[in-house]
């Protein structure tokens, strides 16, 4: 369904963007600023990076892909489905331990120890098999030395948004979520969190890349669309774009503009 919407939107003028769910709040704001500045339309579809990766391989009509990791964009570049040299690490995701506001557990004070509390019976994380945040959560639990103690409490969300939904609805008692989601107005109001130390897991580096798949659908405006995608990515790289990402919980590695390494 969103395919059709995306495809028709692309023909209308602007660009279509596939984005990881942790950008749900940051990217629309960036796009709004960009649209106001340039008048170009940006339509965004959110979902799991793995899903998008598979869809793009099968010709999904996106112009730009914001993945929740580096691996998917690199693989697309290697497969010739992306514009070479456009890979850009737009930010580093952070993990937080989130509990609902009425939780008896003081996560801010207790940190990891909070998860040992008997009141915490279910802990929601994203599926570590394919979601970057899930892998980071497992790595962090292991480095904190409590993975074995809490493994039986873990429940898996299909992506980080669903993990958030599990805790937010009260069905899970705690969750290892994206800071970018915990900072959303709703989640800020509904709960409290403790920021997992950045060193607890390999950095959640996330990259965007300009796609080639738009050639398939948009025969008449190929160059135009592609330039528009590059222009939007340039805006994301600009100080204004970076400030907005930072505001929504993304940080940057010191050497943010590292060269794109092909696998």
């Amino acid at each position: 369904m969103s395919f059709f919407l995306a495809a028709s939107a692309a023909r209308a003028a602007g660009i279509t963007v596939a984005a990881a769910s942790d950008l749900k709040f940051a990217l629309p704001e960036i796009a709004a600023h960009y649209e106001k500045q340039t008048g170009n339309k940006v339509s965004i579809t959110f979902g799991s990076s793995g899903n998008f990766y598979a869809q793009i391989q099968n010709g999904a009509p996106f112009d730009l892909f914001f993945s929740a990791d580096m691996a998917y964009p690199r693989q697309l570049e290697a497969a010739g489905l992306a514009e070479p040299g456009t890979l850009y690490p737009y930010g580093v995701g952070r993990l937080v331990l989130w509990v609902p506001k009425n939780s008896p557990v003081d996560v801010a004070r207790r940190g990891w120890d909070a998860l040992r509390d008997p009141a915490i019976r279910k802990i929601a994380i994203a599926n570590p098999r394919h979601a970057p945040y899930g892998r980071a959560a497992v790595a962090a639990l292991k480095s904190a030395g409590i993975y074995d103690q809490v493994a039986a409490k873990l429940v898996y969300g299909e992506n980080i948004s669903q993990a958030a939904q599990f805790v937010d609805s009260g069905n899970a008692d705690a969750g290892l979520l994206a800071l970018a989601l915990a900072l959303s107005p709703h989640m800020q109001q509904a709960g409290k969190f403790w920021s997992v130390p950045a060193g607890a897991h390999p950095p959640l580096e996330q990259a965007a890349i300009v796609l080639r798949s738009s050639h398939n659908v948009d025969r008449f405006a190929v160059t135009h669309t592609n330039e528009a995608a590059r222009a939007f990515l340039e805006f994301v790289k600009s100080p204004a774009g970076r400030a907005l990402l930072e505001k929504h919980g993304f940080s940057f590695l010191a050497q943010a503009a590292r060269p794109a390494k092909t696998p």
Partner: protein, 224 residues
């Protein structure tokens, strides 16, 4: 091959289809023979899962099972844990999700029973319950089997509701469809393909049974 997920799905489908048959028999009888004028409302309610996306059902289930509703709190008090992320939770979700697949074949089978046979049974002094058991049920055999097999097959292939309330726990809530999705997400297309093919064959055989019975290819009660 993810045998654990397959066995879990078969167990879920078996439990749900048997429970559903028990629930659907009185419900379908009431819908088929009842005289209440507002009956169409109940029929529409029963048919809802056919048209609602599983995400709607799953979303409401997640909310209802949570500690913010009386039902969620009651369950927590009775069993000491929430209903989400448990096998029982999947059973509850599947009962709702597959309800029309059990009720509708039964209703149409019941409605197809010749009225004069029912009159004859009453004239001979049989009670309503006895008439239901001895006349209506045997004559509705193919409807019964259809209801059983369809709700089994539909539960076997259930995805959205399980995804929304399951939490993907191996052996507890990771059903075949979730395992397939998982493998596809992890780009393990080989594993996804093997499980998917197996599910396809299972579903095809179940449906073949339904259509064979309805074509009277095989039926112990119906006249040749």
């Amino acid at each position: 091959m993810n045998l654990q997920a397959l066995l879990l799905s078969l167990r879920l489908a078996a439990v749900v289809s048997v429970l559903l048959l028990g629930i659907s028999l009185p419900l379908a009888a009431w819908l088929a023979f009842g005289r209440w004028r507002g009956r169409f409302l109940l029929e529409a309610l029963v048919a809802l899962p056919l048209v609602l996306p599983p995400t709607v059902l799953g979303f409401y289930l997640l909310v209802v099972m949570g500690p913010r509703t009386p039902f969620g709190r009651l369950w927590q008090a009775l069993f000491g844990h929430g209903l989400a992320f448990t096998f029982e939770g999947l059973v509850v979700g599947s009962l709702l999700y597959s309800l029309p697949f059990a009720v509708q074949p039964l209703v149409s089978a019941f409605r197809g029973v010749d009225r004069s046979l029912l009159d004859a049974s009453f004239v001979l002094g049989a009670s309503r319950l006895r008439t239901f058991r001895r006349v209506i049920l045997p004559l509705s055999f193919s409807g019964l089997l259809t209801a059983l097999v369809l709700s089994f097959a539909h539960t076997l292939g259930e995805f959205g509701v399980v995804l929304m309330v399951g939490g993907n726990l191996p052996g507890i809530t990771r059903t075949v469809s979730i395992a397939i999705y998982d493998s596809a997400q992890a780009l393990d297309y080989g594993a996804a393909n093997r499980l998917a093919l197996l599910l396809l064959l299972l579903s095809f055989s179940s449906l073949s049974v339904v259509y064979a019975v309805n074509r009277r290819v095989w039926s112990p009660w119906s006249p040749r």
